[in-house]
């Protein structure tokens, strides 16, 4: 009982808890971008002469990965 008296409410979440899920949706693309860009840097370090080609391919890949994270943003607004 003594424990119950000292408890305080720190934060109350109102609204849809699903919004947390939309935030979590950013994790995957974040990891993906990290791997994608890191590997490109690795490739450029090994073979600087193909840097331009690697960079272009990287940006194409970034385009595909990034849209996944942005879907999280869009769904957050669509399904409140």
């Amino acid at each position: 009982m003594a424990l119950a008296e000292t408890t305080t409410v720190l934060a109350e979440v109102s609204g849809n808890i699903a919004t947390i899920g939309y935030g979590l949706a950013v994790l995957g693309p974040g990891i993906g971008l990290g791997i994608l860009i890191g590997k490109t840097v690795e490739g450029i370090a090994r073979q600087p002469e193909v840097a331009g080609q690697l960079r272009t391919t990287m940006f194409i890949g970034i385009g595909f990965v990034e849209v996944l994270g942005l879907l999280g943003l869009i769904t957050g607004f669509l399904f409140k």
Binding site: L3, T6, T7, T8, V9, L10, A11, E12, V13, S14, N16, I17, G52, Q53, T56, F59, I60, I62, G63, F64, E66, V67, L70, L71, L73, I74, F77
Partner: protein, 287 residues
Amino acid sequence: MSAVTRSCGTADDSENALSSLAMIVSRATGDGGGFHAPTIGDIFPGPILFDGTVFEINRLQIVRFVAAAALIVVFVIAARRATLVPGRFQNVVEMILDFVRVNVAEEILGKEKASKFVALLTTMFCAILMFNLMGIVPGLNVAATALIGLPLMLAAWTYVSYLSAGVRELGVGGFLKNSLFPPGVPPFLYVLLTPVEFLQVFIIRPATLALRLMANMVSGHLMLALCFSATQYFLFEAAPAMKGFGALTVVGALIFTLFEVFVATLQAYIFVILTAVYINLSIEKEH
């Protein structure tokens, strides 16, 4: 639904700190406080002119007109004053044109195929760049591409151009065979592969192009608006002890403004480079 976090800490100072934190949070989300967080409603402003007709003009459309006018003025001036030895202004414009021609069109499509599509890609890049940059112009403050209509139209342009390029190059049957039945795959896999490829070519490509551009601009606008409105709140309405946060948010706003310039350019680049890739995929004969 509500989640409640409980703690057993009773120390006075920590409780004070927590309650002031809770106040910030409730101020940021509630209606009672002076702070108004930006909402998605910013992107859908009320009509200004011709209310109720199909030619209804709202703030976002005016931003689009301004962007289009600015784009025309820049290129008219650059073309009028074109000299053999470029000045500083002409140099910048030529750099942009050269960038699209060499780093996008020729690198993706190859030198001989590129010339047909350079005009398309250049127009797209310059238009998207200018529309995106409106997001950081003081007074306009919202990218013209932040509402789905314009990105959708640009994506439809890409869609039509890569489909028509493919059909012109390979014929209807050849194009469908090329894009729906990729060679070098065991025949029974086509049951799985062809529907996926169909979705990819006809729905996912244009949809993601439009969504990516719009979502980037919306999130950029929300971030900037959050920083600016938080600055206003901290400086003019918050308790004196919290005014320091204002400095933090104004610096954040400046950094995010620079970040937005980067994002605007990057999105224009990604849009045209994906357009070039899609065109290349549909005109390239696979062996």
